[in-house]
C-alpha cells in the first residue's frame, strides 16, 4: 500500500530547486499542485507534433488534435465514472463550471420565491454565482451552518430543505478546513425534496476516488490544476437529461449545428456548451494528469497524505500557542491554523525565507474566517510528493517564527 515518495518526487522537476538558499518545501497544494514530467511532456508533445484546431480540419494534424482532445474527454468520463462522454463538458475550471450551471440551469429553473442552499464552508466560487443568480431572479440564498470543529450542522439540513429548494451546492473537500463532507447523505436528502445538487470537487479529485453515478449528484465540477494538471482547464459533469434541457451558456463556433440569420440550431452534447476554440492543450495535459493519478492509484496517494496530515496534526497539538482551524473527524490534506502572537501573513513571509511555501490569508472563504473569528489563517496542504521531513521542516520554521516575535 505504501508509496515510494522519492520516486514520485523525481517526477516533479519543479521540486528540484532551492528558494532563498533552502530546499523548496512546497506545501501550498490546495492552491495548485505541481506538475509531473508526464503532464509537461504531453503539453510539449502536443505543441511540437499535433497542434491544430479541433472538430473542423480534414488534415492529419487536426484529426490527431481532435482525437487527443476527445480522448481526454473519455479519460475524464472514466475517472469520474460518468455514464457517457456527452456528460463531460470542458470548462476553464471549477469556477466556470459553477457559473455555467448557475447561469444556464439556474437561469431557467430557479425563479422568484425559490431557494438555493449552500453551506457555510463554500469557496467564494460556490457562493457568488448563486448570489448573483438569486439577485437576478428574486430567489433566496440559504446557508447550512458549520459547527465549531468545521463540520456541517447536518441536523439542520432537513429544516433548511423544502419544496422551494431548487439547488443545493456543497463543497466535497473544503480548501479552508480540510473537512470531507458527507455528500452522499446530503444528495439523498436534497433529492427527497426534489432539489438538484452541485458538488464542488475542486479539492477532492486529487485526494479520493470519485464516482458520480454512485453519488447520484446532478452536477460535479473540478479543476485540472489542483490534481497535477495544467491551469485553465477543468470539467463540468452533469446528468445528460439536465444538459439536454439547459440552454447554451455562451454562443459561438463549435456549439452550433446550423446558423442562419433567422435562427440557430445548437450542436449536440457536450458541444452545445463548448463555444469557441477550446483549451486543447489543456485538455490533453488534463488527460495526462488523469493517467498519472490513475497509475499511482488515488487511494494509495491519499493514504500517504493522510499519514502526513495525521503526523502534522499530532505535532500541531504539541506546538505551544498553535490553534487548528478545522478539526472535523473526516479531514484530508489541509492543516489550517493560527499561531499566537504571529499574524498568518508574517508567518507566510518567515516560512518563505526558510524555503517553505504555505498559504496565508482567507483562502477565498471569508465566511469561514468570520465563523472562526480570525482575519486569516496559515494553511499547509499536502500532496503525493510531500514527506515527513517536510512536516518537520514546517514545525521547525514555526518555532523560529515564534522566537523571532518573542
Amino acid at each position: 500500500m505504501s508509496i515510494d515518495v522519492q520516486r514520485i518526487r523525481a517526477e516533479f522537476p519543479v521540486l528540484r530547486q532551492q528558494v532563498h538558499g533552502r530546499d523548496l518545501v512546497y506545501l501550498d497544494n490546495a492552491a495548485t499542485t505541481q506538475k509531473p514530467r508526464a503532464v509537461i511532456d504531453a503539453l510539449r508533445r502536443y505543441y511540437e507534433h499535433d497542434n491544430a484546431n479541433v472538430h473542423r480540419g480534414v488534415h492529419a494534424l487536426s484529426e490527431r488534435a481532435t482525437a487527443a482532445y476527445e480522448g481526454a474527454r473519455a479519460s475524464l468520463r472514466a475517472l469520474l465514472n460518468a455514464r457517457s462522454v456527452r456528460e463531460i463538458v470542458f470548462v476553464r475550471g471549477a469556477t466556470e463550471g459553477i457559473n455555467l450551471v448557475a447561469s444556464s440551469w439556474g437561469g431557467t429553473h430557479v425563479g422568484a420565491g425559490d431557494e438555493v442552499l449552500i453551506t457555510g464552508m463554500e469557496h467564494h466560487s460556490n457562493i457568488v454565482p448563486w448570489q448573483m443568480l438569486c439577485e437576478r431572479v428574486g430567489a433566496t440564498l440559504k446557508v447550512l451552518p458549520i459547527d465549531q470543529r468545521g463540520a456541517l450542522c447536518l441536523d439542520q439540513l432537513d429544516a433548511l430543505l423544502s419544496e422551494r429548494t431548487k439547488l443545493v451546492g456543497v463543497v466535497h473537500l473544503s480548501n479552508a478546513l480540510g473537512t470531507i463532507n458527507p455528500v452522499s447523505e446530503i444528495i439523498r436528502r436534497a433529492h427527497a425534496v426534489g432539489a438538484k445538487v452541485l458538488i464542488d470537487g475542486a479539492q477532492a479529485v486529487a485526494h479520493m476516488p470519485i464516482d458520480v453515478q454512485a453519488l447520484d449528484c446532478d452536477f460535479y465540477v473540478t479543476s485540472a490544476h489542483k490534481m497535477y494538471g495544467p491551469t485553465g482547464i477543468g470539467v463540468l459533469y452533469a446528468k445528460e437529461a439536465l444538459l439536454e434541457a439547459m440552454p447554451p451558456y455562451q454562443g459561438g463556433g463549435d456549439m452550433i449545428r446550423m446558423v442562419t440569420f433567422e435562427r440557430t440550431e445548437y450542436n449536440e452534447l457536450p458541444y452545445k456548451f463548448e463555444a469557441g476554440t477550446p483549451n486543447i492543450a489543456g485538455a490533453i495535459g488534463f488527460a495526462a494528469a488523469v493517467a498519472w493519478l490513475s497509475a499511482q492509484g488515488v487511494e494509495r496517494l491519499a493514504a500517504h497524505e493522510q499519514q502526513l496530515l495525521d503526523y502534522a496534526t499530532e505535532r500541531a497539538a504539541a506546538c505551544d500557542g498553535l490553534r487548528l482551524i478545522g478539526t472535523a473527524s473526516r479531514r484530508a490534506t489541509v492543516l489550517s491554523f493560527v499561531l499566537d502572537g504571529v499574524h498568518p501573513h508574517d508567518l507566510g513571509t518567515i516560512l518563505d525565507r526558510e524555503g517553505i511555501a504555505i498559504r496565508a490569508g482567507h483562502h477565498c472563504a471569508m465566511p469561514v474566517m468570520q465563523h472562526f473569528g480570525v482575519p486569516a489563517t496559515a494553511r499547509a496542504s499536502f500532496a503525493a510528493y510531500n514527506t515527513r521531513e517536510e512536516v518537520d521542516a514546517l514545525f521547525a520554521a514555526l518555532a523560529k517564527a515564534r522566537a523571532l516575535f518573542a
Binding site: G341, H345, D346, I350, A360, G361, P375, A376, F405
Partner: protein
Amino acid sequence: MFDLRDLYQQVIVDHNKHPRNFGKLSRYNHEADGYNPLCGDRLHVYLDIDASGRIADVSFEGEGCAISMASASLMTEAMKGRSVEEMREVFDAFQRMVTDDLDALPDEERLGKLTVLAGVREFPSRIKCATLCWHTLKAAADDTAEVVKTE
C-alpha cells in the same frame, strides 16, 4: 545573506506587540478607514487637526500583520505635532523608501525612526502592509469618505 531580522527588527516586533496611540481619540475632527483585501488588514485612523493645520493628536485602531501594526504605531508617533504639510512630505519620503532600489539610502532626515521599515522593500508582497496606514492617514486629512484600499 538577508536576515529576517532586517525586516522584523526588534523595534517592529515591539511596536506590533505594544502599539502606541492605539484606540479612539476622545476628540478628533477627521477619520478614515483602510483595508488591505489581500491579508484582511483593517485600520481606522483618528486625526485631530488644530486651527493652524497642525496634527494635535492622531491614533489608530484595527488589526493586521506585524508590519501594518508597527508601521501605523510608528507613524502616529512620528506625526504627532507635525503640520499637515510636513505629513505629506514624510508620506512621500516613506513611499519612496519602501519602493526604492535595494541599495538606495532612505531619507534619514525626513524619516527618522521610520527607517526601521526600509527592509520592507525586499518583500514586494508586503509593501502594502507598510503603506496602508499612510494612505489612510492621508485620506483622513483629505476627508475622503471612501474606504482606502491597497489594491
